[in-house]
């Protein structure tokens, strides 16, 4: 049974809030994230941007529980630190920046891994797991690739397969770390537009990092700017993506254009002209 949102009837899409409170992460003696507070409202899309080394990925890893941190990260109403690994995986689906693609694994088998947190100790796939997986592959136009090896796909196709795995997970929160980093402009837009569609279909909370300032302002309700491990700006694209903010933290001169739908596009000027 499927609901109009595309989710099976037994999974209720409850939007979950995410809250970082006083989060600090030290890696190799360096303060990568320092005393950071950030709130992401359930069902909204927040994009985290910042110069290289600002701590964007580390902030996501504190959320996904893959880096030791101080402070608390709340997922829904629960402290992430006390959630069992499996329960956390039912709430957060992660699209990593550099996904490990196992050689010789087919697209279907790879996407099926997303069902893991819903499976028992043996991680045995049920008929329902397989049905959910084919539905998602179908939704992302990947059915024709089901038996191909993931490693044999192009960058754009591969990224769609990784997104498919995260959707198969049926988690209310989607965490994406630079989901477009190896894609050309057309494929970047494809992936981001896909995530935007899926978000409204499934009422997902989206937490995403991006480095490409030109597209950032068109795919987020809120933008958080990190610099030196601290949150330096937080607001709507219109509030945050100003020439002054970008000059201050990136040291480049940009022109911004505000659109009627409150989105912002950014174009860059070469320095020293």
């Amino acid at each position: 049974m499927s609901t109009p949102t595309g989710l099976p009837a037994d999974i209720h899409p409850v939007p979950l809030d995410i809250r970082w409170t006083g989060v600090s992460v030290d890696l190799g003696g360096r303060h990568v994230v320092e005393d950071l507070d950030l709130f992401v409202e359930g069902g909204s899309w927040t994009t985290i941007i910042g110069p290289n080394g600002a701590g964007k990925t580390t902030l996501l890893r504190a959320l996904t529980g893959t880096v030791p941190h101080r402070g608390t990260v709340t997922i829904g109403t629960d402290d992430g630190a006390v959630l069992a690994r499996r329960e956390r995986a039912r709430r957060l689906a992660v699209v990593p920046q550099h996904p490990v693609i196992p050689p010789g694994l087919g697209v279907f088998d790879y996407a099926l891994l997303g069902r893991s947190p819903h499976q028992g100790m043996r991680f045995a796939a049920s008929a329902d797991d397989r049905r959910r997986t084919s539905e998602v592959l179908d939704r992302l136009d990947l059915t024709g690739f089901a038996d191909r090896f993931v490693e044999s796909l192009s960058g754009g196709e591969r990224q769609r397969v990784v997104v498919a795995r995260s959707l198969v997970q049926d988690a209310p929160v989607l965490v994406l770390d630079e989901p477009t980093s190896f894609l050309d402009l057309g494929h970047q837009m494809d992936v981001l537009e896909l995530i935007a569609e899926l978000r409204s279909e499934r009422s997902l909370t989206v937490v995403c990092t991006l480095h490409d300032l030109t597209v950032v302002g068109q795919f987020a309700d809120k933008i958080a700017v990190l610099d030196g491990g601290r949150l330096v700006e937080h607001g709507t694209p219109g509030e945050v993506l100003t020439p002054e903010v970008i000059a201050r933290h990136w040291g480049v001169e940009v022109h911004t254009e505000r659109h009627d739908d409150h989105s912002v596009s950014v174009s860059v000027r070469r320095r020293g002209r």
Partner: protein, 344 residues
């Protein structure tokens, strides 16, 4: 509708067919030639509800049941355990080069067995043979050492790192074993007989000894196929998919080491089976452990039984150690995989 890699009846039938074929060929081959048709009839005759006259003489029946059959069955079990544990090690370490022999597991088992033999543990314990247990302890120690040496802060080193660690561990354990042996020269013959492989002296006793381990380990490894598939995406992603990578690795390592050690304990050191068979399976059936593990068990069994046939016939009436046959096939195979690793 696509449904991904499941074991599937065709693969299962192919594997079972290979085991039966290797079994029949193994029983039919030897200095006294017995036609395959008669062997099949003789074997079927033993099945419940089937009565068939194979027209074998009493001597031929004795050759089939007391000499050849136990040896073939032992070969099947050892082959299944070595290939299955190889597939499990490769999954756990995400390393296509992992093999019980190359990881130093065989050397560890050898050291354990040697210590058990020279200290005459059997006299101390009495009612059970402690050699397989000592071999298991040594195997677990070796794989833990090799694994620990190549994993640093939760990061797994390159495939070559693990193999080099295994080589170092194997040499170290072999050195200790040689030392222990020299200190106890009177047990030398017993130790060597153990090390050089013993499919040739097999009776039903060894089969009875190995069978419980084979059953338990095979079930254990088959239960882990789902977790091994999750582990294939690396520790961090596996963790975000709800799997505890460290605990999983530890459990699978124990089961695979028990399997390898049990095989080594009854048959001595046979290399490369755990490398060649899972790799060949992956090439034709894909890398999902849902297929690789069960098929490695089946084709590993068939492979070793046939390797034993080769060992018995190549220089007939003399016999080659079976490890020579497996190394002859396996070492070039290893080099091919190694080269592929270098280019990718």
């Amino acid at each position: 509708m696509p449904s991904g890699s499941r074991l599937g009846a065709p693969w299962l039938l192919a594997g079972v067919g290979a085991v039966l074929l290797a079994g029949v060929v193994g029983v039919a081959t030897g200095p006294v030639s017995i036609p395959i048709g008669q062997v099949v009839r003789e074997l079927l005759d033993r099945l419940p509800l089937i009565s068939m006259d194979s027209s074998l003489s009493a001597t031929e029946q004795a050759i089939v049941w007391d000499i050849r059959a136990p040896r073939v069955v032992l070969g099947l079990l050892v082959g299944a355990l070595l290939a299955g544990s190889g597939a499990a090690y490769q999954g756990v370490f995400r390393n296509p080069l992992a093999d019980p022999y190359l990881l130093g597991i065989a050397a560890g088992a050898g050291l354990g067995a040697t210590i058990a033999i020279v200290t005459e543990l059997r006299e101390v314990i009495g009612f059970i043979d402690p050699v397989p247990f000592a071999a298991f302890a040594g195997a677990l120690l070796a794989v833990t050492a090799a694994g620990t040496l190549s994993v640093r802060r939760g990061r797994i080193g390159s495939p070559a790192t693990l193999i080099l660690a295994g080589v170092a561990v194997a040499n170290f354990f072999t050195a200790i074993q040689t030392f222990v042996q020299q200190q106890n020269a009177e047990t030398l013959q017993q130790v060597f007989a153990w090390i050089l492989g013993r499919l040739s002296t097999a009776g039903w006793g060894e089969v009875r000894l190995l069978l419980p381990y084979a059953v338990i380990c095979s079930i254990g490894m088959l239960l882990s196929v789902g977790a091994l598939d999750v582990l294939a995406v690396g520790d961090e992603e596996a963790s975000t998919l709800g799997l505890n990578p460290r605990a999983t690795r530890r459990i699978v390592l124990v089961v695979a080491s028990l399997a390898a050690a049990a095989a080594v304990a009854v048959s001595g050191l046979i290399g490369f089976v755990g490398l060649v068979v899972p790799h060949a399976v992956r090439m034709v059936a894909g890398a999902s452990h849902r297929r690789v593990l069960p098929l490695s068990l089946l084709f590993g069994a068939a492979f070793l039984a046939l390797a034993d046939v080769a060992a018995r016939t190549v220089q007939a009436p003399a016999e080659l150690p079976i490890g020579v046959i497996t190394a002859f096939i396996g070492a070039p195979f290893f080099l091919i995989i190694l080269r592929r690793q270098l280019t990718s």
